[in-house]
Amino acid sequence: MKLKRICKVCLLVLLLLNVTGCWDQKGLDRQVFVIGIGLDKAKENGKINVTYLIANPEVGTSQTGGATDEPALMTVTMRASDFISMRNNANSVVAREISYDLLNVIFVSEELAQEEDFMRFLYTSEKDREIKRDVILAVTKEKVQDFFAKNKPLFLKRPHKYYENMIQRGVEIGIIPKSELHHFFRVTEEDANLFLSIYATAQMPTKENKYRVNENDELAGELKVEGQTNTGQFLGSAVFLEGKMIGTMTGVETRIAMLLHDAIPVRDVLTVFPDPFHENYQLTVRLIQQKKTTVELDLKAKPPRIHVTLPLTIDVLTDPSMENPVENKKKIEEIRRAFEKLMEREAMSLVRSTQEEFKAEPFGWSLHARKEFRTLKEYMDFDWMKTYPDMKVEIDVELRFGKFGRQPKTPSYEGIRD
């Protein structure tokens, strides 16, 4: 009986020792939440300039609660070896513990992304437990510091929502890719594809606003936008090969790449084609991908051939020439042929530029190729990246017509101008 008592007392004492700790406890009011990290090149070797975008939790807190006139965001820029040691560096000015729980986006300036060593800095994110693998990687044209300073979005009570929504919507319509760190690591390690990352900027356009059929056929920063609205633009993609940025792609090219890649679902694409009946006008169509892209590979032939079939359903939504193609079967056929040819031409030009300029493909065709090999060694020996630029690629677009807008027919132009 006495022994039992002694045992129980010892157990309690042991538990008490654990009580003295609560090591991992962090009160919510002792933390501050970083919603975006920016990485800029530093002059010194082995260092980078890290910018934190910190959200103010008080802003927009409750319906009744104290309306603060403090700003919703705070930015901190310091030089650091990586963004994990930065957490403590920033504590010399930030009052609370830095927490990465709400981290959504990592911005990199184009300058830093073109460095050979950029990849080393990015891999530190694999070591920190709080940076999840689904954090988005984005490249900015100018220094991230300046991007954060100039980017003042309106309707901004919750800054983390701005980035989240912007990226989500952009990915939905296909003008920017969903560049998660998870995919970056995989693509870089597999060493067979290109990695596309979001391209953003807050700079004013430098080139003049040339004529182009598709307004999205540009990079971020080249769109001329007037009025009282957000200054930041997210459009197009930065192209990474083996962890280094080697070029860019416009919004339209990015969209075509998304359509050709069968693992990435793209919805709600509104694009514009020149009207086959009237030179000056364009038809707006909605592209819906209901079936997956099929890829047929013939790797034994010399040169190896790839045949891609892209089945799309299009809704023709406008009819500026007021020609009423709906009524005429021949006209519909003509539109279809014209669109198919146009799309195939655009896709082929993109493929050619990847073969010649980038020397690798972002379409994920290497994954299809994997099925053709028995062992990893065979696949590695084939070396997709080396053989890709010499491959013969054929792209077949199959269009089906869907709807023609809410009201398919429009009155004829001549009838009105009578």
Binding site: R129, K371, T375
Partner: protein, 368 residues
């Protein structure tokens, strides 16, 4: 009505096995396979399953004629006193080191991923107390606890795996034969002791209600666990390609760190308690088995009093490696490689000796 004191039914028995073996897919066991078999680790796993049927069958055959003996008594009976004790002692050493290394791995997982600032020994103490309490209660209660929590644990596991499946890409499984058939077979042969637990369940063989239930339960648990682990291995490869999977030490936890369900972005803390309960039950079970074996060899009747001693020993041994993150997985791999051939050959030996001794002459046909 059929319950007599101290026996467990087939439900509890299968539940214990499912939890003790099923949690192997949540620690670093898959990464042991991925190291050499890369993206074809699932083929290795299936091979291991097929190979393990042989020792299990032999073991069951030997138990069918010695129904009321547990593993240690069986060893004594077959191999004689001296050699039998040596065999049991060897088994005890393996079992104990497996217990220490596995619990050290789990404490590492909690310490690295969930509670980064807490000193690991505090986590170890908590685990030690809970598992010691469970082992002290006895096998019936471990079985009951396993049966109660089984469905909830398996459902959440299925949910996590399913969500990971939807985020994955099946093309990552190709090329199908990965590093080559020779590598795959080699991995399977050297890591067969993943299922070595099936040898140790001989210790609780007499506690199950009837031998028929023991046999049926073993097969049900074996097939279920095999399917479970294989599916999990496939899903991990689908989520992380063969390039990343080699460097990730705990694929299950990486997977639940990555996935998001609807509006919840970070769901790992939802799956944490379920995983923890499975871990507690697994270690209580291991501790109980080590205790029974220890009590059998050194002829200690009241082995419950050994629990505090054992727990303290395990805690101190588990926290002693200097560079825990490196030495523990390394030692574990070594242990598994040594144990694999033993696990395969020992039941064959036992069957042979039983046959030679003529124990099978009095086989009762009707209960098979």
């Amino acid at each position: 009505m059929k319950q007599t004191e101290g026996k467990i039914g087939i439900r509890e028995y299968v539940a214990i096995l499912l939890l003790a073996l099923g949690t192997k897919l949540t620690d670093d066991t898959p990464s042991l396979l991925y190291g050499t078999a890369k993206n074809s680790a699932w083929i290795s796993m299936l091979l291991i399953g097929i190979l393990t049927v042989v020792p299990i069958l032999f073991l069951l055959k030997v138990f069918s004629v010695h129904r009321n003996k547990n593993l240690h008594e069986l060893n004594l009976h077959l191999f004689g006193k001296v050699f039998g004790n040596i065999v049991s002692l060897g088994m005890l050493a393996f079992g104990f080191s497996a217990l220490v290394l596995d619990s050290a791995t789990y404490v590492n997982i909690i310490s690295n991923i969930y509670f980064t600032k807490t000193p690991p020994i505090a986590i170890y103490i908590i685990m030690g107390i809970v598992c010691g309490y469970g082992a002290k209660r006895g096998i019936q209660h471990i079985g009951s606890a396993a049966w109660i929590t089984l469905s909830y644990l398996k459902v959440t596991l299925a949910l996590a795996l399913f969500v990971a499946f939807t985020k994955g890409n099946s093309k990552f499984l190709f090329p199908l034969w990965g590093p080559g058939t020779k590598e795959i077979v080699k991995t399977a042969a050297s890591k067969m002791s993943i299922f070595a637990d099936f040898y140790f369940i001989g210790i609780i063989a007499p506690v199950v209600n009837s031998f028929k239930e023991f046999k049926k339960g073993t097969f049900i648990a074996f097939s279920f666990v095999l399917v479970e682990i294989t599916i999990a291995i496939i899903i991990y490869v689908m989520l992380f390609d063969f390039t990343s999977i080699e460097v990730i030490s705990y694929p299950f936890h990486e997977a639940i760190l990555y996935i998001s369900i609807g509006f919840l972005k970070n769901v790992e803390s939802i799956f944490l308690p379920f995983w923890l309960i499975a871990a507690f039950i697994r270690f209580s079970f291991y501790l109980y088995m080590v205790l029974v074996l220890f009590g059998g060899i050194f002829k200690i009747k009241e082995y419950e009093y050994l629990v505090p001693v054992m727990v303290v020993l395990i805690v101190f041994l588990g926290t002693s490696p200097q560079f825990a993150t490196y030495t523990v997985p390394y030692l574990r791999e070594q242990l598994l490689m040594i144990l694999s051939p033993i696990f395969f050959l020992l039941p064959c030996f036992m069957w042979l000796i039983a046959k030679v001794r003529g124990d099978f002459k009095n086989e009762v046909k009707k209960d098979m």
